[in-house]
């Protein structure tokens, strides 16, 4: 049915060049049959009257110029969806990996998605309680937000993500809820950790998993997050579910993109990543959100490991430019043995303002949050000063703040991996620490709340 070409002229990295083609379209899905009869898939990146440039998802290892057969399938890459998809595990190309049957499609969806009309967006404003104080108290997550975790190699981002997936809930509501998990280039152990964790807590039944492991073809990683997001869109906007999407690790994703770009001999941007990395990431990250008149939502937690813990590295930098804040993990806090090692100062939730306060969390939340920031920042300054000049050189007030910073990390940030604190508990803990500081110092808290919450017998 589809015309077969034996005209592969060049193989460069993950790309093949097919000559003397006819009626090939940009973005078209391609099937490549190698000499041994094995099928691989790819996509058209550039097409002219003479030739097409095709990226091969499974990589080009073992392909040759003479015998490879290429068929252009006349459509872009699709995901088959139906409500049966929930509870299943797929590979990075969307084929079942759990031994179960193929999904009988109710719909097929283009995995690249279509941009949400900005006019159709509903502004996210529902507070999600993750049970983690350094997130809920300081950088609250709201439904429909895209909030990445900026991690480093060896830091426990997987455990934090799994904890969020287990504990996340919207106060006072019981609704249809699902988790879509995608792994890109992660190890078997890491993937297994998630699946086992989901299985143990019963979450697997309401999860969909897409896995491309470290030993699987890197180029496939280009498709994996898009499959996950296409699935999430279906669950959220067709089936009215609240979907939490966790995708790890975007660093490996970006490396795959870089490989393709290098093979195409494109002019590289910073550190060899292509100039269009921003746009490429944005077309995925922006698929999170809420839509007016739809019950469901997509909340999105992409995870990336910053090379050398450098947040100005292009992957972290461009992500920060697109997402609505970031949760930053710190190696220094991790070394102190504190879990979760969230560094609250460079972390940020940009959508928090409409998600917290009276009727949502508590009236004093914004003030407490600002005051904790201020006190902790001052305490860290004092810590630095003490390091240079010795603790004796600190003023009495500085000593209080130094003490504050230590206890803040130890009591507020530190918590158990299965400890789910309510927002009241988190705020109370905040007040407990603020009481270390004389009330006259608490300038970010309005007098009304100071009166109501500052005294011990509250």
């Amino acid at each position: 049915m589809h015309k077969e070409y034996l005209t592969v002229s060049n193989i460069v990295g993950p790309l093949i060049i097919v000559e003397k083609i006819e009626d090939v379209k940009y973005g078209e899905l391609v099937e490549i049959e190698d000499a041994g009869g094995h099928l691989r898939r790819g996509e058209v990146l550039d097409v002219s009257t003479e030739r097409a440039v095709v990226q091969v998802f499974e990589g080009t290892t073992g392909l040759d110029v003479d015998e490879s057969k290429v068929r252009f399938l006349g459509r872009s890459q699709k995901l088959r969806v139906s409500d049966e998809i929930v509870g299943r595990v797929f590979d990075g190309s969307g084929y079942p990996k759990d031994g179960g049957p193929e999904i009988i499609a109710k719909h097929t969806r283009d995995i690249n998605g279509i941009p949400i009309n900005p006019q159709a967006r509903d502004y996210p404003s529902e507070f999600i309680q993750t049970g983690i104080s350094s997130i809920d108290g300081m950088n609250p997550l709201v439904r429909g937000q895209k909030l990445p975790i900026f991690s480093g190699s060896g830091l426990p981002h997987s455990r934090i993500a799994a904890q969020i997936a287990r504990q996340a809930k919207v106060l006072g509501k019981k609704e249809k809820f699902a988790v879509v998990f995608g792994g890109m280039g992660i190890t078997f152990e890491e993937a297994n950790f998630f699946i086992e964790d989901f299985r143990d807590t019963g979450a697997l039944e309401r999860s969909v998993v897409f896995l491309n492991l470290a030993n699987e073809p890197p180029i496939e990683r280009i498709a994996t997050p898009r499959l996950a997001l296409t699935c999430a869109e279906y669950l959220a906007f067709d089936l009215d579910m609240h979907v939490l999407v966790i995708l790890v690790d975007y660093t490996f994703y970006a490396e795959a993109l870089r490989e393709i770009s290098a093979a195409r001999k494109e002019i590289p941007g910073r550190r060899g990543y292509p100039g269009y990395l921003y746009t490429d990431l944005a077309t995925m990250y922006e698929r999170a959100g809420r839509i007016k008149g739809k019950a469901g939502s997509i909340t999105y937690i992409p995870i990336l490991t910053m090379p050398e813990d450098d947040k100005t590295h292009p992957i972290a930098d461009l992500t920060g430019y697109i997402t609505e804040g970031q949760i930053m993990l710190s190696r220094e806090i991790h070394r102190k043995g504190i879990y979760p090692p969230v560094d609250v100062l460079p972390s940020l939730s940009r959508l928090k303002d409409k998600g917290i306060g009276k009727g949502k969390t508590r009236e004093d939340h914004a003030d407490v949050l600002n005051q904790l920031f201020a006190c902790y920042a001052r305490g860290k300054d004092a810590r630095e000063l003490a390091l240079i000049l010795g603790e004796a050189a600190l003023s009495d007030m500085d000593k209080i703040y130094l003490d504050f910073a230590d206890r803040y990390e130890d009591e507020f940030v530190r918590q158990g991996e299965s400890e789910a604190r309510t927002i009241e508990q988190t705020l109370e803990l905040g007040w407990k620490l603020l009481r270390m500081v004389p009330s006259a110092e608490l300038k970010r808290i309005s007098p009304e709340y100071l009166e109501r919450y500052y005294s011990e017998d509250q």
Partner: protein, 589 residues
């Protein structure tokens, strides 16, 4: 219509042959489904086309329709309160037609074709008119009288003029000149790549008051001026731009959301109908046009979006309005330029940007300005432009930042460190500058206060001294500083925390009138001067430091504009400062 044939598709770039006769920047329809594109280069019979919609599924052999018309916008009633995509398609109409996602190949009129406007003529039959003259007006919103102008290039006698309700397409007037009869509708069509004509450029001399203390007092922008806001992610560029769109005293706001977040557009749409213009009390939306081409929408349309916005802004300027355009973010526009340039295999310049990046940016910012508008009557309009820049890693050596700094006159440098400390707006007072201070000084003296510039100078000086003293303190400890020096540190801190720090999300703090800004700063400086005096009189430093009135100084920002106007509450603080120091000196020793 003439047709070419596609010979290559590579993302947003399509190349077509058989295009002889096509002109640069002509609009074309690409492929069997007729995607909108624009010719950006011609080589022999080949046209290089940037396509404003996703090109998946488009391939060689498909046709390209050459419309022979430049890519244009429609300028007429119905612009205000609209949200358009990068090529002026109204997003609400697209939504009504296609649902919640923006699909491809949609064709919708730019301006509403059915809505009727009440046209009031401003000329009589037989009157002579020339380009730019008002023929009549419609009330577009309660805030904006939309003038229907004689289009550029037309001069003659009015032979017909209508009155009453009509759609934009109906004929409102007929003008007869030597050669022809010109039928004038309520809207004009104008190429986005073409500057709109003006009589002449004049120097900006009035401040654009934004209600943001650090901007208005330290680094003011003039009406008709240009500014840029560079900074790393999360440093507050968008909040600054939104604050300007909300509170600046321009009459018309054009906000171009270029390659940024969808939720930020949703935020504008949610808040603008609720927020009231401080001078008129009307919803802010009634003076606002939004162009939204978010980061997930087609990349080439990002490139066009700032020109679409600019052309609309110029059009309102031509009516004699003061217009302000915000572009968030110009870096995304530059990246779109780079991407297309890369696909065309042009010679790359710095960081892969094309060599013409700097000249394109300069041309763009040059469209700002204060002008004498076209028309026989004397009329002035102003167009201020504020561009956000998002350099990789916040690195100011980025080519987009550097090329922008060569053309704009105001630099608001956002600083990662300040943002992390939650000092907002995180505008670094040491690197930022405004080259308009001399232009608007007279206006300040007349409208605000005789000594405004002096107070401002003193504040700047204290901040300067603070950074030097902090350096010393870091090296040898605070104890080594004299009492006078410690007072300088305290006063500078007060300037930073009680004046420069401004919370955009606090109902009172979000906006401060220029008058109140002056009063606030004067009190801080006054306190400092009295403090110096008291030290000389032998008052111990700690007594000054512990004065209760300092608490009131720190709360001045929360005094509402209304209370200030009615009760002059800030002045009470001033009196209290005086009284406190008198007592101190009386009771010393």
């Amino acid at each position: 219509m003439k047709k070419g044939t596609i010979i290559r598709t590579a993302g947003p770039l399509v190349v077509a042959s058989d295009c002889l006769g096509a002109k640069m920047y002509d609009m074309v329809r690409v492929g069997d489904i007729g995607l909108i594109g624009e010719i950006i280069e011609l080589r022999e019979d080949k046209a290089f086309i940037q396509v404003y919609e996703d090109t998946t599924g488009i391939g060689p052999g498909e046709p390209v329709l050459l419309t022979g018309e430049p890519l244009s916008v429609e300028l007429g009633p119905g612009l205000i309160q609209s949200v358009f995509d990068g090529i002026q398609r109204p997003l609400d109409v697209i939504r009504a037609k296609e649902g919640d996602f923006v699909t491809r190949g949609i064709e919708v009129p730019h301006l509403n074709r059915t809505k009727k406007w009440d046209f009031k003529p401003l000329v009589r039959k037989g009157q002579s008119v020339e380009e730019g003259d008002f023929l009549g007006e419609v009330e577009e919103t309660p805030l904006i009288k939309h003038k229907v102008m004689v289009p550029p290039g037309i001069k003659g006698k009015v032979t017909q003029i209508k009155k009453g309700k009509m759609t934009v397409q109906q004929e409102a007037a007929v003008i007869q000149d030597q050669e022809a009869e010109h039928k004038i509708r309520l809207f004009q069509v104008w190429s986005i790549r073409q500057n709109r004509k003006v009589k002449k450029r004049i120097m900006p001399e009035n401040p654009l008051v934004t209600g943001q203390r650090v901007l208005d007092t330290l680094f003011p922008l003039a009406k008709g001026g240009t500014a840029c806001v560079p900074g790393p992610f999360g440093s507050g560029k968008t909040v600054v731009q939104h604050q300007l769109a909300k509170w600046s005293d321009a009459q018309i706001i054009v906000f171009v959301a270029c390659g940024e977040r969808g939720n930020e557009v949703a935020d504008l749409l949610l808040s603008f109908p609720e927020l009231k213009d401080p001078s008129t009390g009307r919803p802010l939306m009634e003076r606002t046009v939004i162009i939204a081409n978010t980061s997930n929408m087609p990349v080439a349309a990002r490139e066009a979006s700032i020109y679409t916005g600019m052309t609309i802004a110029e059009y309102f300027r031509d009516m004699g309005y003061s217009v302000a355009l915000m572009a968030d973010s110009s870096s995304r526009w530059a990246e779109a330029l780079r991407e297309i340039s890369g696909r065309m295999e042009e010679m790359p310049g710095e960081e892969g940007y094309p060599a013409y990046l700097a000249s394109r940016l300069a041309e763009f910012y040059e469209r700002a300005g204060k002008v004498k508008c076209l028309g026989s009557e004397d009329r002035e309009g102003a167009l201020s432009v504020i561009g956000a820049v998002s350099p990789p890693g916040g690195d100011l050596s980025d080519p987009v930042v550097q090329s922008t700094l060569k053309v704009v006159k105001v630099f608001w440098a956002l600083d990662d460190k300040l943002a992390n400390e939650r000092h907002f707006p995180a505008i670094n007072w040491q690197n930022s500058y405004s080259l308009y201070v001399d232009n608007i000084k007279d206006n300040w003296q007349e409208e605000v206060a005789e000594d405004f510039t002096e107070i401002r100078q003193e504040a700047m000086k204290l901040l300067e001294e603070e950074s030097e003293l902090l350096e010393i303190a870091r090296l040898v400890g605070v104890e080594s500083l004299s009492d006078t020096e410690r007072l300088v540190l305290e006063s500078a801190k007060s300037i930073r925390e009680d004046f420069l720090h401004q919370n955009a999300f606090h109902p009172q703090d979000t906006y401060t009138s220029l008058r109140k800004q002056y009063l606030m700063l004067r009190i801080i400086i006054h306190f400092h001067n009295l403090g110096l005096n008291a030290l000389e009189e032998g008052v111990p430093f700690n007594d000054i430091f512990q004065l209760e009135v300092r608490e009131r100084i720190s709360k001045m920002k929360f005094i509402s504009e209304k209370e200030q106007e009615e009760e002059d509450s800030v002045h009470d603080v001033f009196i209290e400062v005086d009284r406190s120091f008198k007592e101190l000196i009386k009771n010393k020793g």
